[in-house]
């Protein structure tokens, strides 16, 4: 009995790890096809720096037609195979052979198609003097599938940096008040409870709030500033709770010792509470913002553009415009490329590549917060 119980816990844990591992491996394997190359410098710089482009594909018409008819034939034969009686084994074998032959042929055709096709990004496509003739080629285009995700990476980094700054400032102010200055009572409990509840609010609600508050009411438009504040507000509950916790964990003796030496309250907090609480505050804040940075919902109405030609620092009329422009962001970009365009061999690179790069960025944030914590912990110990 004991063994069954322990094994069921064990299996549950393994299952979770296995699923997570499969998903991550899948993204990593498929994504690295887009991000890495076989030749030096082994990283697909174009993919990381260029803006997304529409991919224009011309496939040889003959091959395409034959492929399609092959496919139809296979489907027909398979249907026929299913309708055969149990006695007609020779007939069944014959059909199987035909299907086999057709599939072989399809494979060969597929290679031929890949060799014969023409692919253009937007820029090249526009410079074409003459479109490949529609008699020889079948034309298809796939939005976002060419080029790279440069602006989305830049936009995500800007969004994260700005929201960390805002969330940290506001969060630490709140935490200092709650842990050091507030008098305990019903009001304080109410404030704590509301902050706690705020962390359970769905992200789309924050998105709508940001849209209503910053984009419409304050009239900032779809802008980086609105995105910063929306993300910051979303990360705040976590940051406030964690910061307050870190500050409460500082022994009372430090405060009393400092006050007894004639330090004012603020001096005491500044010199003897905040420095020792900082490791906890920083790590939890970066963790909180890293989590929020992965959210699509809060930025899709407030800050994110599906496609933007310019990088944020290009084409500004005046410096303040920097804050009032929309940006591309990786989570939103992933949402767009995975839901708005078909999934096939032409789009897969972009889909997996973007997800993979995003995974790396978020992982980098989490890792840096852990390293930061270890480093500062070593510095301050008591």
């Amino acid at each position: 009995m004991e063994a069954i119980v322990s094994w069921s816990f064990r299996l549950g844990t393994y299952l979770v790890i296995l699923c997570a591992g499969y998903i991550f491996m899948n993204i990593a394997v498929n994504g690295s096809k887009a991000v890495f190359t076989t030749e030096a410098p082994f990283i697909n710089i174009e993919f990381l720096t260029q803006k997304p482009q529409t991919l224009h594909v011309f496939e040889p018409k003959e091959v395409d037609t034959e492929l399609k008819s092959n496919k139809a034939k296979v489907v027909a034969l398979e249907a026929k195979h299913r309708n055969l009686g149990s006695g007609e084994t020779t007939m069944a074998d014959e059909i199987e052979q035909q299907i086999e032959a057709l599939k072989e042929r399809s494979k060969a055709l597929d290679i031929q198609r890949k060799e014969g096709r023409l692919m253009y990004g937007d820029k090249e496509y526009r410079t074409l003097t003459e479109e490949p003739s529609s008699e020889q080629y079948v034309y298809n285009n796939y939005a976002y599938s060419g080029g790279g995700i440069g602006p989305a990476i830049v936009g995500t980094c800007l969004l994260v940096a700005g929201s960390i700054a805002i969330a940290l400032t506001l969060g630490i102010l709140c935490a200092i008040f709650l842990s050091e200055y507030s008098t305990s009572g019903r009001t304080l409990q109410l404030i704590r409870l509301s902050i706690l509840n705020l962390s359970g609010v769905p992200s789309i609600v924050f998105g709508l709030f940001g849209f209503g508050m910053f984009v419409l009411f304050l009239d900032w438009g779809v802008s980086m500033l609105a995105g910063w504040f929306t993300l910051a507000i979303m990360a705040l509950p976590v940051i406030i709770a964690a910061s307050e916790e870190s500050m409460r964990a500082i022994p009372k003796g430090f405060r009393e010792g400092s006050l007894a030496l004639g330090a004012s309250k603020w001096t005491t907090i500044r010199t003897n509470v905040l420095p020792y609480a900082m490791p906890g505050i920083l790590t939890s804040s970066i963790m909180g913002v890293a989590r929020v940075a992965g959210e699509t919902a809060p930025i899709m109405f407030t800050a994110a553009f599906a496609l933007r030609d310019q990088l944020p620092w290009q084409g500004l009329e005046k410096p303040t415009d920097f804050f009032f422009q929309g940006v591309m962001a990786l989570p939103y970009h992933i949402y767009v490329v995975s839901s708005k365009i078909p999934q096939n061999e032409y789009t897969r690179n972009m889909q997996y590549g973007a997800a993979f790069v995003f995974l790396i960025i978020v992982g980098f944030f989490a890792l840096s917060s852990i390293i930061l914590r270890i480093k500062i912990r070593k510095k301050y110990k008591w």
Partner: protein, 266 residues
């Protein structure tokens, strides 16, 4: 031994009183912790507060530098505490100035997680003293006063948390001395120390008596007998008896005092 006139104001006699407490009532919320306390504490003497746990002696001590301000529900119901003839609970009294004059050493040694040097210099730095030479001077003087200099002079820049418990407590005393207080409050400074470290701190108290007025709360009656000139016995928030230490221990007037020092309760 005090005469009958000191039934309201205990502790008169030789010496100049520096702290005068009159009709002092103190409460945490609705529960009163101190009842109508009157006493004078003499300058450059060691005054010990003894009594069973929860009798209010620490609370009383923390009234002298207004550490109780930190507790939301703490309040003075009545009476006054005068230090150098100023009522420290007056509205215009600067708590920060007060605390510079009335230093405090806590039950649990609480060195800051900084270097030994920075610990001592802290009190001066927050006052804006930046000059290295004057800081150096004060650090050495305070460490010498706390009989710690020879032990730590080679590792001033190491963390104070690497010191032994007794050293940490003496460091806290040295740190309190750095802001040049007149009065030093000690809240059970030896409760976490072994006998040898305790002996060192007691020796230190003896020496500091030359320059400072010391008020010490202690659980150990032997310690009170060893270090103090005067002893006050508290019980259930009331000052039961306050007199020269010899009198308290040899010849207590109050039966409760006698019962406590002879170990029958508390």
């Amino acid at each position: 031994m005090s005469t009958s006139t000191s039934s309201t104001i205990a502790g008169s006699g030789t010496g100049t009183p520096i702290i005068k407490i009159r009709n002092f009532d103190f409460a945490y919320g609705d529960s009163q912790a101190l009842f109508d306390i009157n006493m004078d504490i003499n300058e450059k003497e060691v005054t010990a507060f003894i009594g069973p746990s929860g009798c209010g002696k620490s609370t009383f001590l923390r009234c002298f530098n207004r550490m109780n301000d930190l507790i939301d529900i703490a309040r003075i119901k009545n009476g006054e505490v005068k230090i150098s003839d100023v009522n420290i609970y007056n509205k215009d009294v600067d708590v920060i100035e007060l605390r510079k004059h009335v230093g405090m050493v806590f039950q649990k040694s609480n060195p800051f997680p900084k270097s030994i040097y920075d610990n001592i210099a802290y009190g001066l730095r927050i006052q804006g003293v930046k000059k290295k030479s004057s800081l150096d001077e004060v650090v050495e003087k305070c460490l010498r006063s706390a009989a710690l200099w020879d032990e730590v002079k080679d590792r001033l820049n190491e963390s104070a948390l690497g010191m032994s418990g007794g050293q940490q407590q003496r460091l806290c005393i040295a740190r309190a001395l750095a802001v040049r207080p007149k009065i030093l409050l000690m809240d059970e400074p030896c409760s976490a120390l072994d006998p040898i470290a305790t002996a060192k701190v007691e020796e230190l108290i003896h020496e500091l008596k030359q320059d400072y007025t010391i008020v010490i709360v202690t659980h150990s009656m032997q310690q009170a007998a060893r270090v103090s000139d005067r002893t006050a016995f508290f019980y259930l928030g009331k000052l039961i008896e306050y007199d020269k230490t010899d009198n308290i221990f040899m010849n207590p007037r109050d039966p409760q005092t006698e019962a406590y020092i002879s170990g029958r309760f508390g």
